[in-house]
Symmetry: C2
Subunit: 353 residues, 2 copies
């Protein structure tokens, strides 16, 4: 099915905390025209806006009968470990029995589940596991060009806003008539963009190679904004972040942080490395392959008031000497100004012509 | 089949360069009692010693009829990308038809190949894909104890001797009556040790977790010598190396280098990062999780004369201020002295009691 013809119900049933339901939050933010409803039996009658903080009047439903015209059920959560909650199985079976296609970004492949696969086949529905892949090429270390300027969003933690920052920066570049491409590296990014590679589900020997291929295939664009994953300071996922960094060999990086976050997401016993320390570690590791520099900070200030956010922005500018903006609250203009100025500085004019 | 009852033919046919056939080289070095023959049709009549540089009088054969008493055919190479050469298929089929078990460390799973799987079933043979795994747990960041002292071998490049250094150091510790355990993280290490995890074939989100579990399951030992993988300065495999570093959170590291190697193995267009720079990058990245220090250098001096090796050893000691030894040529004594001295320095006596 073409992405454009999808009429989506986002399934977040019982897991509608916006940090857990980040797939749902992002799909409804960036594809509002395609989302018919959010499914959460505990919040029927609310709006998506009230439940997830985005999506305006889009209704929350608890029965697929209420989702008129929907042809796609999309798993809207990204839990650690990537398994579907047991309580969701009857909902998935019912959707397939109605002939709805199921789209999932979980590590646990629904298309490999005998009951679900049989239901899909019986009713002519499809199950798309966005994370399923067969990447088997190692990186070449060759072929990158300076006229496709590579920018990677990195972060102080996972679930902090790297994908949102990347999408917003890509949109800002396009508004300026620059041929920019969002390079999706995770399931939600792929659901939004329609292409990309779910690198956290690639066999580790081939992560650098899979990322390199994403870049090589997209160098017709002038600026590539590459979706970051986790952080190299993450006890669980640094493997993924390192492969992404060295596979993409960015010219520049934008660092995403959230004021007030002190512990690793989901690991309350692990303190976060500071923003400055994380930047230093990223620049140090990047330099083993290609020199790279953090040129701006994207702040995730969702928990702050407008005044607090403005104050924090000023404070961090002073502390790190870098432009700072919340791409949702402030727009991505200042971040893009910094990226383009840095490109002008390091890429010879001839390469950009 | 128990590892102890394996009677092995090592298959390196047409690929007996010791750097490519490193699985064969290591298995015959560390399990000489179990190896019946090496199979290479282009070198029939030679000894393993002449062909691979190890294995003494073990014969090289070109016909399985010549391998009396053998019950296991082991794939002896580790090519980039991990695929079996086409010319080997008839040999594998013949081995299975004789009822021999096939053991493979390739990324391409032989047990998933319909022809080979059918042959195995028909003749009551087994196919063991050492890299096959279903690791699905994320790291916890908890539970490590100082009384199981963690030492990781790291390297300037892949295929440089990290596994050999780790095995030799483990043996030296055991000679000193210290309860040491070699923690295998690659297919060859697992073939030698009989347990471990093939981390380069684990889905990237779960590499840190798989490594952490290896450690947690082995803390009854006093010293854990963890087999390194590739290098965080490797364009292809840094993903694996980063996950291993942060999953194992070593107290100390031993750096393996080869004098005279200037380019990345298999990537002649990519210069190697210097030993000093690689150490700096490793210590910097390790510190995000757990402080760690390179306490000694293991030199791979196979291409040097005795005089040249002695000279190089002296030079590097002076340059980096660290103990240096080739574990094969000089023994691992000096490396172990450095590890034990460092342990005494950083681990409180109470934790070691």
């Amino acid at each position: 099915m073409e992405q454009a013809s999808q009429r989506i119900v986002l399934l977040t049933d019982g897991h509608s905390d916006p940090l857990v339901a980040k797939t749902a939050v992002c799909v409804i933010r960036y594809r509002p025209q395609d989302v018919v409803a959010v499914f959460d039996r505990g919040a029927v009658g609310q709006t998506s806006q009230a439940l997830l903080g985005v999506g305006g009047e889009t209704p929350v439903i608890g029965d697929l009968n209420a989702a008129e015209g929907a042809n796609t059920l999309m798993i809207g959560i990204a839990p650690p470990g990537g398994k579907v909650p047991d309580a969701w199985r009857p909902i998935l079976v019912e959707a397939l029995a109605r002939g709805m296609n199921v789209v999932s970004g979980l590590h646990q492949f629904l298309s490999d589940d005998p009951e679900l696969a049989a239901a899909a086949q019986q009713h002519g529905a499809t199950i798309q596991d966005v994370r399923k892949n067969s990447e088997r090429e190692v990186a070449s270390g060759k072929g990158f060009r300076d006229d496709a300027f590579r920018v990677l969003t990195i972060g102080q933690d996972c679930s902090i806003g790297k994908m949102v920052a990347a999408v917003e920066m890509t949109r800002e570049l396009k508004r300026r008539d620059i041929d920019a491409k969002f390079v999706a590296t995770g399931q939600t990014g792929i659901m939004i963009e329609g292409d990309g590679c779910p690198i956290d589900c690639v066999v580790s020997d081939f992560v650098n190679g899979a990322v390199e291929k994403l870049i090589l295939d997209r160098q017709q664009h002038e600026v590539l904004i590459i979706e970051g994953q986790a952080t190299i300071a993450h006890p669980r996922y640094s493997c993924v972040s390192a492969g992404l960094l060295h596979g993409s060999r960015p010219h520049a990086m934008v660092m995403v942080y959230e004021p007030g976050r002190t512990q690793v997401h989901g690991m309350p016993h692990v303190p976060l490395a500071s923003v400055a320390r994380t930047i230093e570690a990223y620049e140090n590791l990047a330099a083993l392959m290609h020199p790279s520099k953090v040129v701006a900070l994207a702040m995730n200030s969702r928990k702050l008031s407008a005044d607090e956010a403005a104050e924090e922005r000023k404070r961090m500018r002073g502390e790190l000497g870098l432009p700072v903006a919340d791409p949702i609250r402030d727009g991505a203009g200042e971040l893009i100004d910094a990226i383009l100025a840095y490109r002008e500085k390091i890429v010879p004019a001839a390469a950009m012509a």
